[in-house]
């Protein structure tokens, strides 16, 4: 049976993990390679590494990080942040990534998705979408729409998230990494309505992100009657009393969510 994926996300700034699932007993909690291997050992199904370095002058540092992280990692490994053109993507693949995540650059020029997919395959292209509700939560669900933001959530585009997700899929995206800006950092649960809206609109997998605060939130976002997500990003499960992803998966198993186990 196809399982629901739990993806560990590491935010990396200037070569160091600054936010991500944290580990006790890790030799160097700030080292991306150590973190990634610890997550993999604890049952993460994939690793996403996001370069949040503000300056663009550190690409070589980032490529070194990707290379070190990839070396002994044998689960899918996605790298995002700062990929503006095909050559940026090629450098990240050369360094050892299996997939790249693109966001603002794809909104600006959707043909970038097609170009990277033609060279590396659609399975290697993740389009990240940051979306925010246009309507207030009290309104009827079918009135709700979601707007795409770029530049790290700072710039509204006026574009509808559902329309953009469909276009990205048609351009050759292999997966959608969907972040709810309303829920991000709140630990109030994934925005299941947003996730389901996009998951129903495209046939490619949708990875839910933003708002996780308990194992129940993962159960909900995977529920066919709620979020319908194919995968979910775990950014800070440490905050809700779990030590690692194996504990999270254990809770999911108990709730009959299909997960890779033993991992």
């Amino acid at each position: 049976m196809l399982t629901k994926r739990i993806i560990a996300c590491l935010d990396v700034d200037n070569g160091r993990v600054v936010k991500g699932v944290q580990f006790v007993n890790l030799r160097d909690a700030g080292d991306p390679a150590d973190c990634a291997l610890a997550h993999a050992a604890a049952g993460a199904d994939e690793i996403v590494l996001l370069d949040i370095t503000a300056t663009s002058g550190n690409r070589n540092t980032m490529l070194d990080v990707v290379s070190c992280t990839a070396r002994d990692l044998f689960i899918p490994f996605t790298v995002g942040g700062g990929i503006r053109e095909l050559s940026d993507a090629a450098a990240v693949f050369d360094a050892g990534a299996d997939k790249i995540a693109i966001n603002s650059a794809a909104v600006k020029d959707p043909s970038l998705i097609t170009k990277i997919a033609a060279r590396f395959g659609s399975q290697a292209v993740v389009v990240a979408i940051d979306a925010r509700r246009r309507e207030r939560e009290s309104e009827k669900s079918y009135d709700k729409t979601f707007e795409v933001y770029v530049a790290g959530g700072r710039t509204a585009t006026g574009r509808d998230a559902l329309v953009w997700a469909r276009e990205a899929a048609e351009c050759g995206a292999g997966e959608i990494l969907l972040t709810s800006m309303d829920r991000d950092g709140t630990q109030a649960g994934f925005d299941c309505e947003l996730v389901r809206t996009i998951a129903d609109a495209v046939s490619i997998p949708v990875i839910a992100s933003g708002g996780a605060g308990s194992p129940q939130h993962f159960i909900d976002v995977f529920d066919i009657n709620k979020g319908r997500a194919d995968a979910a990003l775990a950014a800070s499960i440490f905050h809700f009393g779990l030590e690692n992803i194996a504990q999270l998966k254990s809770e999911l198993r108990a709730a009959n969510v299909p997960v890779r186990w033993p991992c």
Partner: protein
């Protein structure tokens, strides 16, 4: 550089071969990524990777690589097709009917039934039909990582299936011909074991 002791990874211009090479590096096995038909002719074993659309395999057709791989396979050189490389072992695929597969295994690759989303992406379990050389030491219900839009039929050479809408060929094995639909290089310890089994398999 290649020698008769080397495993050759066939590079026909599409996809990222680093992950496959890295897995063999980790196992301490000498591999060479090559675009040269001559290197394939002298290789001890051959890996045919592949991602994306079946038409990507046209990169084999115009470069002499198709003939080199087929000749070596016919001469008994062990050949492992991965993902699209496994699909190539069959007659062809509805994804790109104009391109011929190798025809080593019978049948065509087809889309998934409409009852499931496509592509099939993620970790799914193997149902092992027969414990073959490739699956030695692999637990019968192990999980492996998939990403594909077309599926190969279950045939006599199928040694493990995976269920997605319906069962499809996950592992095939017939004399010196091996194939896996999933990505062993991304399937953690299970995948590494399968690659090691291929390296160690004697005919």
């Amino acid at each position: 550089m290649s020698s008769s002791k080397t495993i050759a990874i066939v590079d026909y211009g599409v996809g990222n071969l680093n992950s496959v090479k890295k897995a063999f590096d980790h196992l301490g096995v000498d591999v060479v990524v090559t675009t040269e038909p001559e290197a394939i002719a002298t290789a001890a074993k051959i890996i045919l990777p592949g991602v994306g659309h079946f038409s990507a395999l046209s990169g084999l057709d115009n470069t002499g690589l198709r003939e080199a791989v087929l000749r070596a396979a016919n001469a008994g050189t062990p050949l492992l097709g991965i993902c699209l490389g496994m699909q190539w072992l069959f007659d062809g695929s509805d994804e790109a009917p104009e391109f011929a597969g190798a025809g080593i295994l019978p049948g065509r690759c087809r889309p998934f039934p409409a009852s499931v989303k496509s592509p099939h992406v993620g970790w799914n379990s193997l149902a092992v039909l027969s414990s073959t050389r490739l699956l030695r030491g692999v637990a019968p219900d192990s999980f492996v990582y998939y990403t594909h839009s077309f599926q190969a039929p279950v045939v006599a050479a199928t040694s493990a299936t995976t269920e997605y809408g319906q069962p499809f060929s996950a592992v095939v094995e017939q004399e010196n011909i091996f194939g896996v639909q999933f990505h062993p290089e991304k399937s953690s310890d299970v995948g590494l074991r399968i690659l090691r089994n291929f390296c160690e398999s004697a005919l």
